[in-house]
Amino acid sequence: MKRVKHLIFWLVVIGIILLLFSSHVIAEDMFRQQRQALVDVIKYDVLRTRDFLNQEALDDRVLDALRKVPRHEFVPDDQRPYAYQNRPLPIGYGQTISQPYIVAVMTDLLKLKKNDRTLEIGTGSGYQAAILAELADSVYSIEIVEPLAKQAATNLKRAGYDAVHTRTGDGYYGWEEAAPFDGIVVTAVASHIPPPLIKQLKPGGRMIIPVGAPFMTQYLVLVSKDTDEKVTTRQILPVSFVPLTGKH
């Protein structure tokens, strides 16, 4: 009798462990499916905005990164159920995490290569840095709001992006020791483009800046420095709206 009880006890324990383990697997699987669905939504949106982006589709590597990075690890617990909806989410301290479609477009516009060096101003929750880390070898990210910076460092570590260099502080002067960069993302709102950042951009490098109020990206500014160090900007409307009097 005692042995039977013992057996039942162990069976229950193993059952619980299996359940816990499988629930984790099931959850992971569910998140993976949601990420895939999100990528499909983004692909569709990109197709609709191809005229503005000057391309039919985003780079497969960018889409792969979106499929891989667990966005739910980068949002507050109460926002997790919405982590894979194509919408901006609040992350506390009056900051938001951009809409995944905007993140995808911004990342794609940087045209990153594997051994590129990238800088992000405004780490936020760390999601954009994680996406960059999937595409380029070195990622540097600066956040000025202390608690956010700490949270982002934890998020990145937990999701396995230990290689991302993070720093708490003022991003205006970029990251001098690691400069120059092939790509720079400025997610923190600035009244103007900091001249030191333009300086830290490599010839041929690109910088991307979303412009707008919280929860509302109005347009993207792509700053390019050509090989002669001539700097130009491109203003990109991230939706498929045909302005002026154009036909639909």
Partner: protein, 805 residues
């Protein structure tokens, strides 16, 4: 016949004054903790508390009438308590308008705020409604005190906002409500001492309540709160004014570096700055200036610096001087004489006194003359001319870009305003206007269309020969020259743009190849707009454009109203993929507010009419049950239509929007109060159609004023400042006086035939007023103020036809 005592009338006036002050105050409070447009929506819905009160009283009148003293005192005390309590409760609701598209629960939050804020108005309306019913034979006195009170409240709250912080005024309103209760308990009813004791206890509690309860809970997404998360930042000063609550923020560790529109080629950064926030948003900066112009080099790297490079300028005028960046820019270019105009005296005071040393005494001595006032008012009273008149970025980027200003009147950017500016530009001088870049472009083409029309009206045959426009990635500057542009100016313009990586948008003789080189847009939208608007097909272009870019005029002063219904179907599917900024939401929110108000009013008016006819006291065969609601509804609509239209028209003459609104509104209400008081004489007249008299007078006066407004304005503008106000008051008084009569006259009639309907009529009038305020703005945006006035006259006509029998 029961007559209300003077104490009773005074108490009604106090409650009305407090309720109106509360309405204005809520608008201020919500503009600080949230955003202006949602504030408008919440408060217009909350005012439906008046409508609810009408229905509540209509259904419970017989139960409440015997308890009149208790009922009225209870409502006064409840009003007092709910004034702070409801606001504090409402600000606890985590409503975030920006998330409304994504999170449906936000709509629930919004409804919660409506319900909570409606309570104080419900209690205040109960006080007036109950009194109207109680003193049925003296309705005109009660209504007169209601209007008198409202008139005093409208001026009083502006005065209070100068001396107290908005959250402190909540306490003042509570105390005034208690004062009203004490007045009636001691003098009108000589009630038991308990009432006095309770009132005094509440008053003491309110005075000594811990102040942290009254702290404003500002949305975390407002830029002030976002900046405060940066280490080393703190608010070092706070000021209150009816034009906005101002916070000064010092950042000790990280420099602010506020320099919007800076060229990509700029190498210098701004000196130390203090941030100035208006209503926790709209950041501008006070810049440290040590007298060395070299430190201001960054100001020469913006599009607005262009006019200084076209030729040597001597005397210039800066409209909207604010915290002084345009003045510093002029100083950098060694301008010998600067006149600057700023509306908000508080901002001037900051730079002139408190932070004078920090700002390098820029508002003192030569070359600057600073004037407090409104831009057009200043120009109307001056015959000076300038080499340059400059208007730069008077609104903050965030609000401007999100379409939130659409319903705000703005007399700075209308055809008539441009004509006025050009009139003060010396021959070969410039008018320069800098705006934020928007994609797709909206205000820039609209401004361009407005400028071109203004030039044509002043007799310029080829406006294209006098216009220059350039753009960076963030801002654009439009320059209108008083004369044809020379080849030398054009070559200087090209050099200016080349050195700073700005793109020319338009100059006489421009070619398409030059317009999209540095800041590349999908298409050179602005160049295309300029070419089209200057060409022969301008009307067709404006018509086909997806946003409303029809020139703004003084009759339709809505530069920021870009919404076109035709474009809506195209935008709707884009909302969830991030296209909400295309929506120009200000206008749609106004429509949403109107729909809500209509729906709620239907519930409050039509439903009771249908379900509880008998209980309301309507006799089955009476014609009154249809005529009466129509009469009071039309009155409610028409009263505010006329009031709003004339206040707006007189802003143009009186110039200062704030004082103009305060003076005109109180004149309307006080004279309407007097009219109401006088109306008993007409009501008692044996003449059956005596009610037609005031209505005919209203029609005559408002049509006359409206048609002859140019003559009136022309005359008033020539008189002095004080006499302008005086004449305006004299003009408005007879109109207000007559407008105060139709309501009490009809009530007096009803009190003889079916007094049971009085509370209901009061409720209908309340609902109509809410709808009216919103509808008036929508009509003005679409058709202009003149049409609004004629509509009001028509409504008075309908009312006359439906006068209760």
């Amino acid at each position: 016949m029961m007559k209300p005592r003077l104490s009773m009338l005074a108490a009604v006036a106090i409650i009305s004054a407090s309720a109106l002050a509360y309405e204005v105050l809520l608008m201020r409070l919500f503009s600080i903790i949230q955003w202006h447009h949602f504030a408008y929506m919440m408060i217009s819905m909350a005012l439906l508390g008046y409508g609810v009160s009408g229905v509540f009283l209509a259904l419970n009148r017989d139960r409440l009438a015997p308890l009149f003293p208790v009922a009225i005192m209870t409502n006064m005390l409840l009003f007092s308590l709910s004034v702070p309590a409801c606001f504090l409760l409402a600000q606890q609701i985590p409503f975030n308008p920006a998330e409304i598209l994504w999170t449906p629960v936000q709509l629930l939050y919004l409804c919660g705020i409506y319900l909570i804020l409606a309570l104080p108005f419900f209690f205040a309306a109960n006080v007036v409604g109950l009194s109207l019913y109680q003193y049925k034979n003296q309705v005109s006195s009660i209504y007169a005190s209601d209007l008198f009170g409202a008139g005093l409240g409208s001026v009083g709250v502006i005065f209070l906002l100068f001396i107290l912080f908005p959250e402190q005024i909540l306490t003042v309103l509570t105390l005034s409500g208690i004062l009203a209760a004490l007045l009636v308990s001691s003098y009108t009813f000589r009630a038991s001492k308990h009432w006095t004791t309770v009132s005094l206890i509440i008053a003491l509690a309110v005075i000594f309540i811990p102040t942290e309860w009254m702290t404003l809970k500002v949305s975390p997404y407002k830029s002030l709160n976002q900046l405060l998360h940066v280490p080393g930042t703190k608010i070092i000063d706070r000021y209150s004014s009816p034009l906005g609550s101002i916070s000064i923020v010092k950042s000790e560790l990280t420099p602010l570096r506020h320099a919007p529109g800076l060229s990509l080629n700029a190498a210098t950064e701004p000196p130390e700055q203090l941030a100035v926030f208006t209503d926790a948003d709209n950041m501008s900066a006070i810049t440290r200036y040590d007298g060395n112009p070299e430190t201001l080099g960054y100001l020469d790297q913006t599009t607005s610096a262009l006019p200084y490079h076209l030729k040597q300028l001597t005397g210039i005028l800066i409209l909207g001087a604010g915290t002084g960046s345009d003045i510093l820019q002029a100083d950098y270019h060694a301008i010998k004489h600067i006149d600057a105009v700023e509306l908000n005296p508080l901002v001037i005071d900051l730079i002139q006194r408190k932070y004078a040393a920090f700002a390098g005494d820029i508002y003192f001595g030569a070359p600057i003359n600073i004037h407090i006032g409104e831009a057009r008012g200043y120009l109307a009273s001056s015959d000076k001319t300038y080499d340059l008149i400059n208007l730069s970025l008077l609104d903050a980027f965030g609000a401007s870009a999100a379409g939130l200003y659409s319903m705000a009147e703005n007399y700075l950017y209308t055809e008539q305003a441009i004509e006025e500016y050009l009139h003060h530009v010396s021959p070969d001088g410039y008018l320069s206007i800098t705006r934020w870049i928007k994609i797709p472009p909206r205000d820039e083409p609209k401004l361009l269309a407005t400028v071109i029309n203004a030039l044509k009206k002043t007799g310029v045959r080829e406006p294209g020969r006098q216009i220059i426009m350039i753009r960076g990635w963030q801002t654009s500057t439009l320059i209108v020259k008083n004369g044809a542009l020379s080849a030398d100016e054009i070559s200087r313009l090209k050099q200016f743009c080349d050195e700073r990586s700005f793109d020319p948008v338009y100059y006489p003789g421009i070619s398409e190849g030059e317009v999209n080189r540095f800041n590349i847009q999908q298409q050179p939208y602005l160049y295309q707009a300029a070419a089209a608007l200057l060409g022969d097909n301008s009307p067709a272009f404006i018509d086909a454009y997806k946003f409303n870019i029809e020139p703004a005029t003084d009759d339709k002063p809505y530069l920021f109203h870009f919404f076109k219904w035709r474009t809506l179907p195209e935008i709707l599917p884009l909302l969830r993929s991030g296209g909400s900024f295309l929506l120009e939401s200000g206008y749609l929110l106004l429509i949403a507010a109107l729909l809500q108000a209509i729906l709620a009013s239907l519930l409050l008016i039509a439903l009771p009419l249908w379900l509880c006819k008998a209980k309301l006291g309507i006799e089955a065969d009476s014609k009154n049950h249809l005529h009466m609601p129509v009469y009071f509804f039309c009155l409610g609509l028409a009263f505010l239509f006329i009031e709003i239209a004339f206040i707006q028209k007189f802003i143009l003459v009186l110039h200062h929007p704030l004082y103009a609104i305060a003076v005109m509104l109180s004149t309307f209400l006080l004279s309407a109060g007097a009219g109401s008081y006088f109306s008993t004489h007409l009501s008692h007249s044996p003449e059956k159609y005596a009610f037609m008299l005031p209505i005919a007078a209203i029609a005559l006066l408002s049509t006359g004023y409206s048609l002859g407004f140019e003559v009136i304005a022309g005359f008033l503008l020539k008189t002095g400042h004080l006499s302008r106000y005086l004449y305006s008051i004299i003009l408005i008084m007879p109109l207000g006086f007559c407008m105060g009569m139709p309501f009490p006259m009809a009530l007096a009639k009803i009190s003889q035939t079916t007094p049971a309907l009085i509370p209901w009529a009061w409720g209908i009038n309340g609902c109509a007023s809410v709808i009216s305020a919103i509808l008036a703005t929508l009509i003005a945006m679409q058709f202009g103020f003149t049409v609004l006035i004629f509509l009001a006259v028509a409504l008075y006509g309908v009312a006359a036809w439906c006068f209760p029998e």
